[in-house]
Symmetry: C2
Subunit: 381 residues, 2 copies
Amino acid sequence: MPNPIPEDSVGIVTPKSQHFSKPLELECGKTLSEYDIAYETYGELNANGSNAILICHALSGDQHAAGYHSSEDRKAGWWESSIGPGKPIDTHRFYVVSLNNLGGCKGSTGPNTKIPGTDKYWGPDFPIVTVKDWVNSQHRLMQELDITHWCAVIGGSLGGMQVLQWSIDFPDLIKHALVIAAAPKLSAQNIAFNEVARQAIQADPDFHNGHYLENNSIPRRGLMLARMLGHITYLSDDSMRDKFGRELREGKLSFGFDVDFQVESYLRHQGKSFVDRFDANSYLLMTKTLDYFDPASECKHDLSVAVSPSTAKFMVISFTSDWRFAPERSREIVKALLDAGKQVSYVEVKADQGHDAFLIPIPHYMNVFHGYMNNVYEDIL
Amino acid sequence: MPNPIPEDSVGIVTPKSQHFSKPLELECGKTLSEYDIAYETYGELNANGSNAILICHALSGDQHAAGYHSSEDRKAGWWESSIGPGKPIDTHRFYVVSLNNLGGCKGSTGPNTKIPGTDKYWGPDFPIVTVKDWVNSQHRLMQELDITHWCAVIGGSLGGMQVLQWSIDFPDLIKHALVIAAAPKLSAQNIAFNEVARQAIQADPDFHNGHYLENNSIPRRGLMLARMLGHITYLSDDSMRDKFGRELREGKLSFGFDVDFQVESYLRHQGKSFVDRFDANSYLLMTKTLDYFDPASECKHDLSVAVSPSTAKFMVISFTSDWRFAPERSREIVKALLDAGKQVSYVEVKADQGHDAFLIPIPHYMNVFHGYMNNVYEDIL
């Protein structure tokens, strides 16, 4: 029997979908003639419409950020730690909108949906979308939901990049920008890891150049490898040591190529379970979206010029053991914002959990997050 | 026309091979009934046999540590930077022995050689060898070459682990131990990267469960992925930034899955060229050898107890930007040696090149290395 739904959860939520028939021009030059965006909402929009918050998801996230889809559902949304009654993003106070980005695989138009007017999957032909494209599509959704402005836009990792882009592209529509465990652009090493992940997927013979759905196949091994690799970069060396050390699965070395160490078994499990919930073409797309993000590139590589249109107040949070997007990367954002004369808070949270820390209810992090959200709430009263 | 061979090179060298007909018992419980070891030597053994040095290679190394195989040969041995006349391992002073470890793919008995008395390749049936097994086989070679003791055993990375094992297993036969860019055992993160590399190879349909030679195939894409991934861990984030930054190959984004960034192109090239020179089964084996190395495991995880038999003088060198085997890992070795009352020198070289630094003639590193080798030389005079 499943556990009862905890009292500090938003409870059972129903996924929604919005159809858009107005074409969306993309940075790549292509146009989506029509599209759908899957989303969820938590809490209630207040009378003067001042309490809306947008949540932006990371690489493998989706619209299901909090709550459960049924009373049988064993797993809550991906940011259950931070969204719900009494939590930092308090659903008694705020109206929270969370969506699946275009190119995703959880109901929004993407590679695993069909090209309008045809019976063919988009597959590898889905255009490469950028963070800017996502922000535009999120703005369209905002209009459909009759939201006049966001009291806050919040996201971690790739989500934080969307927050930064929102503050640049729609400065009048966002009061607070919470940029968590993010970076102003990927490093060569970040891109290198993404490239190996992509090659792993594309090398899988079941990938069929991206047309695997028509071929009734799934590039399981490639996607599994990509996720295993990603997972290493989400954890810190310390957290892996604390979690697994060099513990042997069977108590002794196998002298073969089966699993010897617990960490191998854990990674294989992570990789396998990911294949059941994610689409390989979406993974390829989203890694490219990450690689391409670089708002300063249009401003002679001066991030402080890029963020100059912003009028939001910023909260930047990083985690000490995060080596995917290390605190130095957050400090680059903070410095650019300060150079541009913006209002910025910055907290570097001591945490052993690596990049994944942004999803974990670490007390110091929760205190900081909660405290800042109190400010956001005071601003709307 | 190839460049003339530089004067500070050992010049043209001829690979040699030694056959062993006395069975070698391995840690896994299996026995190699007979085997060959491919090796090279540089310099001359002196009259009292006191100037012999053993070089131990790393994961993808081999016996060809210095010099050229012909006047047409464009590429010198892998440690040309440190071995040769006037170099730290000065071949005017020392007699240098460098071998291909068992399980390798450059002439020593390994997966790409045939099982004695049959016409079948060892392939995946080659036993998993350990660092201890290697040291035993190196000791056998030493006896065949009539070398009574090593004035120094020297190695970087996995090579440094062999040096440590030599000092423990044959304390009377080794005067100086140079352990460079090594670790006393792999971390969970190190093992995790190895596991992803192995899975990449094993997932390749051309792998045929390791029997690819009989099937006239090569798991090119798997081995390429493994090498690309390995390569990321050999370079530092800084060195990748300095080398590639976010430089675009064609000057603009492709909005496709071809190469966008220089770093992608570099990695693909590294991966592809590795496939032409390395065997996939050997790669699998050597990553397991790395994973299994943990001399302290037999001594209640107390490394100072494990090294207590050693009588060698130690030189430990690490590199600041090495995140594969970070300076902390070298310091664990140094601390254990000091706790055990051994004579140890330790230098942490400031270097941006990551783990690969141990192969690069960085002036501070070369000075330190040269200085220590002067001591080694003085000890034999």
